[in-house]
């Protein structure tokens, strides 16, 4: 049911935002009920990019289905692949070589920085500052080059496979990552100077789109959205996977619950990601990059669940296996879906002009919600 824009009998105004709208960052369609300029209700309509990945995966083997998941949250392609690889490994009880674990975690963190960079540039552009977008893409390009060299792709990497990673790192990988870290540490100050400390930006963000800790839990929010409301939910800390147990990092938590708190969480998370990479990059152990697995993978009968922390929050992969070469049923618990469901709660009572700031800090990736 697609409501037509117009006036309701109560005198409320109904408008449609999207599916083609620059601020929704993809094909998201919101039907908004307004009373004057105040938002009364937001109703998301989904499905414009639904590919039914879950159904598709039912006819793909355990080696094949991982590639489809790069297309869900395309900004966290590595981390999606990582979740699937871990879930299959859990079923097969494969021990992943330490070298592969190091590479995987570093790739995850590089992805997280690249994703947050894009969010940062896009958010600033949403609220009217054009320049930060170019700054963000300049640094993001350095990460993309690193990815391109090692994985052969810039967006949908498909680098992680059950048992490890597909190929060894490029000989120049360590040098390039070290270069990036040194560069990035200088640039983050530029970011803070340009946007974080900007009084116009702060005024647009502070007190906008408030989400209480109680609601964040009830709506199943995760990632920076929940952590900005004071909910400690970092999967890397709570249920560590691969070498996350051995690295030192701080779980970034803010208690403001507004858009500015969500902004600060992501900015500080990027610094933590750099800190994690720093600890690993010079200590990559020698050895295999992939464990020996059979050509055809068969998971034992049963159910397997694996969760990881993507740039947007908790991604869960739930595999129901009947003992065959393809999953009987697969479910992806995507972070964006739950975060989007809290949008009505966050934007209700606010002004329509603030909606863009609220949505920007939710960091929605629509293919991840639609799957």
């Amino acid at each position: 049911m697609h409501e037509v824009a117009g006036t309701t009998p109560e005198g409320d105004f109904i408008i449609n935002v999207g599916p083609q709208h620059p601020a929704t960052h993809g094909v998201l369609h919101l039907v908004i009920t307004l009373e004057g300029e105040t938002i009364k209700k937001i109703e998301p309509h989904l499905g414009y990019i639904h590919r039914s990945i879950e159904k598709m995966c039912e006819s793909l083997t355990y080696r094949q289905f991982i590639y489809v998941t790069s297309r869900m949250d395309y900004l966290s392609a590595h981390i999606n692949n990582h979740a699937c690889a871990l879930c299959v490994e859990k079923g097969l009880q494969v021990e992943v070589p330490l070298r592969a674990q190091y590479i995987r975690v570093m790739m995850d963190e590089l992805t997280r920085i690249a994703s947050h960079e894009l969010w940062w540039g896009a958010l600033a552009m949403d609220v009217g500052a054009f320049t930060p977008f170019f700054y963000a893409f300049r640094e993001r390009e350095t990460i993309n080059e690193i990815m391109e060299e090692t994985c052969g792709a810039r967006l949908t990497m498909n680098y992680m496979v059950p048992g490890g990673v597909m190929a060894d790192i490029h000989p120049q990988f360590q040098q390039k990552v070290n270069f990036f870290i040194a560069l990035y540490k200088k640039k983050i100050e530029e970011y803070n100077e340009l946007v974080t400390g900007n009084i116009i930006f702060q005024n647009r963000m502070k007190g906008v789109g408030f989400l209480s800790a109680e609601n964040a839990i009830s709506y199943g929010c995760s990632g920076p959205v929940a952590r900005a409301s004071g909910v400690a939910c970092d999967v890397r800390k709570r249920y560590p996977y691969d070498v996350y147990e051995q690295v030192q990092f701080e779980e970034v938590i803010e208690t403001g619950g507004d858009s500015f708190a969500r902004y600060l969480v992501r900015i500080r998370e990027m610094e933590q990601s750099v800190h994690i990479i720093e600890q690993l990059i010079d200590n990559i152990p020698e050895g295999d990059f992939q464990a020996k697995t059979k050509a055809v993978l068969k998971l034992p009968k049963g159910e397997f669940y694996q969760r990881v922390e993507t740039a947007r929050g908790e991604l869960g992969v739930y595999i129901v296996s009947e003992g065959g070469t393809t999953p009987y049923r697969i479910k992806f618990r995507s972070p964006g879906f739950s975060n989007l469901s809290a949008l009505n709660e966050m934007a209700k009572g606010g002004k329509i002009g603030d909606l863009v700031a609220t949505m920007g800090t939710l960091d929605l990736v629509i293919p991840d919600i639609d799957r």
Partner: protein
Amino acid sequence: MTNEELKIALFNINASLTFEEGGEWLNVLVPVNEFKPLAKTLFSEPEFICNYLFCLTCVDWKTHLTMVYHLTSLQWQHNLVIKVVLNRDNPAIETVSDIWKTAEFLEREVYELFGVNFIHHPDLRRLILTDDFNGWPLRKDFEDPVNMIKL
């Protein structure tokens, strides 16, 4: 609580529950008419406080449907899986969207993909598909000769 402690605590409140073990987490099978009271208990009792519903889905077993609820307690750090077997011809279950608000969207998704009717759901409409769509796409016997590519 560990899986074993959870099992004992759950057995004490309802002796008709059956358990599936061997997996990572404790799986609790509950009859459909006792599901809602159990969900309320798990949410509110101080020994459980399962306040975070992180996954809600359904599995089509060809003879029946199984609703699967993954719960976690952010306070006590335990995980729990609740399963409810539903009749395939006319599946219906009480909504949990009044307990966990995230369920409102997740149930709408399950409704349109599996055709499960959530009783007392505030707004049970299709979320992804068009309103005139026929059939339940994620069921195993769903056939769409036009849009589906067989591999």
